[in-house]
Subunit: 224 residues, 2 copies
Amino acid sequence: MPDSNALPTVAVLGGTGKEGSGLALRWAHHGYDVIIGSRQQEKAESAAAELNALLGRDVVRGMANADAAQEASIVVLSVPYSAHRATLEGVLDEVQGKILVDVTVPIQPPDFMLAILPPGRTAAEEAQALVGSAVRVVSAFQNVSAVHLKDLGHGVDCDVLVSGDDAEAKEAVMALVEAAGMRGVDVGPLANAIVAESLTPVLLGINKRYKARGAGIRITGIDD
Amino acid sequence: MPDSNALPTVAVLGGTGKEGSGLALRWAHHGYDVIIGSRQQEKAESAAAELNALLGRDVVRGMANADAAQEASIVVLSVPYSAHRATLEGVLDEVQGKILVDVTVPIQPPDFMLAILPPGRTAAEEAQALVGSAVRVVSAFQNVSAVHLKDLGHGVDCDVLVSGDDAEAKEAVMALVEAAGMRGVDVGPLANAIVAESLTPVLLGINKRYKARGAGIRITGIDD
């Protein structure tokens, strides 16, 4: 029987990438039960082993995406936009009734610094349309630079814009934001994901233009 | 003959509103030659008089929109989205060859907290399509709260995202940003105006949700 006080199990699909594995590390460090998902189980296991080495504990597991999604109550999707639809189609059954956190940024290579709109307006809205209304989709984490995520002692100077249509699901994601050492800001309905999704290519352009590594954003005026 | 060291003449169409008149005040205070434009000359003159009273000098002029645009080399458009097209159509001839700074935010009343996309993707791109390629359109100032603009001693805790397809025009707008006491951040081509335009309804929602008056944004990671 699960411990009712235990933090939920989080699957990070695309968790072998920089962003996904950095978030996974921070969540595992904070006490979440974390599973790295990948198309290939072997790659997921090897990414999990890397995180366990950093943590000094054998707590993160690696699985194929569908198995990871099956085990979790919160499924985080952190894949390149080109893999967005296929990854979701591969876990359609496994995510039903759960919270899906979409981190995906619609980018059209080779121009990584241009804000583009996908056919469904945002990746987050495309995800919602694909998985159906029984899945609570929350959009978050797009603007967090991966640069410092794996350095647990390093603060991340970036707010996380959190949008979604279900208040309880947004609260669960706000807790994930704080567990990763950042501040979450509720920016309203899922349709407002357009801000965070279009901001990422803009931040990549700022990195290049201002010779920065990990530009981010802060919401001002809400501290007092 | 004009003084070649003088700052350019700036017309603020919609300069009777809070945002436009606040920016106009700051630019006039900094030494720009500022003209308030409005559909009705009388209203423009009365707004100019109000600013001159605040400045303690009789420097700001008020004119009908087309006359204001005719006199200026930089035309700032700060109108409700519902007046965007009509205002531009009224100054089509007068803006040719000039810099047009579009501050307009596409909002669909009554929901001021939902990011929406206009038919032309962004108001800025709609403006460019309308005025033609001889006008250098720059997008800026959408996210600046009007709350503190008229208090010249008050800092504005907000960066200004500046996008546009012409480098020289962007530089002229960067100078306007600094003159108004803020930091401008070059965010690339005009198509990236989608970030600033969609961010404003999100900030209005944040104001409501977090009981703030003038939420804004800062770009982090580019200070050092």
